[in-house]
């Protein structure tokens, strides 16, 4: 699964993207986050407060219970502000 990080999430984790292979316990985005925070303290810190983190699956914004598969592209980012 391709995972992308943007803004201060990218800075905190220290990379803009990575590929991970899902194990079968990871069924939705919430599960994915539970997995990511086991990688190291940077992930743990970033995902300690989800109130300002948004998620997308295949470029559509989704909620934390969205089902995911290995072929999906997932992204984590803070609220956006353009203009």
């Amino acid at each position: 699964m391709k995972i992308l990080y943007f803004s201060w999430i990218k800075d905190g984790i220290g990379k803009s993207q990575e590929d991970i292979t899902l194990n079968e316990n990871i069924k939705n985005i919430s599960d994915l986050i539970d997995f990511l925070i086991t990688i190291n303290d940077d992930y743990k810190k970033i995902f300690s407060d989800l109130s300002s983190i948004k998620f997308s699956k295949n470029m559509n914004i989704v909620d934390i219970n969205e089902k995911i598969k290995n072929e999906d592209e997932i992204a984590f980012f803070p609220p956006m502000t353009g203009g």
Binding site: L4, F6, S7, W8, D11, S52, S56, M59, N60, A75, F77, P78, P79, M80, T81, G82, G83
Partner: protein
Amino acid sequence: MIKVQSEDFSVEKETKILLNKNNNVGAISSFIGIVRNKAKEKDLISMTLDHYPGMTEKMLQKIEDEALSRWKLLDSLIIHRYGELFPGENIVLVITLSKHRKDAINSCHFLIDWLKTKGPFWKFEKTKSSGHWVEALDSDNLEELKWNN
């Protein structure tokens, strides 16, 4: 039409293209967003706009389609730049064309409110003393809510 690009744009050039494509235009509304030279009272060196290529275009196309369905528009254009931009540089351009002024004005207002609140970009402000990611403002989100009825 939507364009996500690092290059600058010319309002007059874009307006001319739109006018040549459309008949019986009576009203053109446009909005240009520009990088200001202050970031929270500090002198801004630059603002870098990061985005998610692919998702950006998808979201911009969707909101343009919504504007086209909500108002009687002859045409519309959204250009949003990304990359490192300096004070005085253009960030965003919205142009809407209609027969009657209300459609052009209201849809242009709607689009720029959306871009400010949901525009899929993240801004990094660099000042002399530091750099930080700009937080999305609640007031902007409230502003956008008024269109949801």
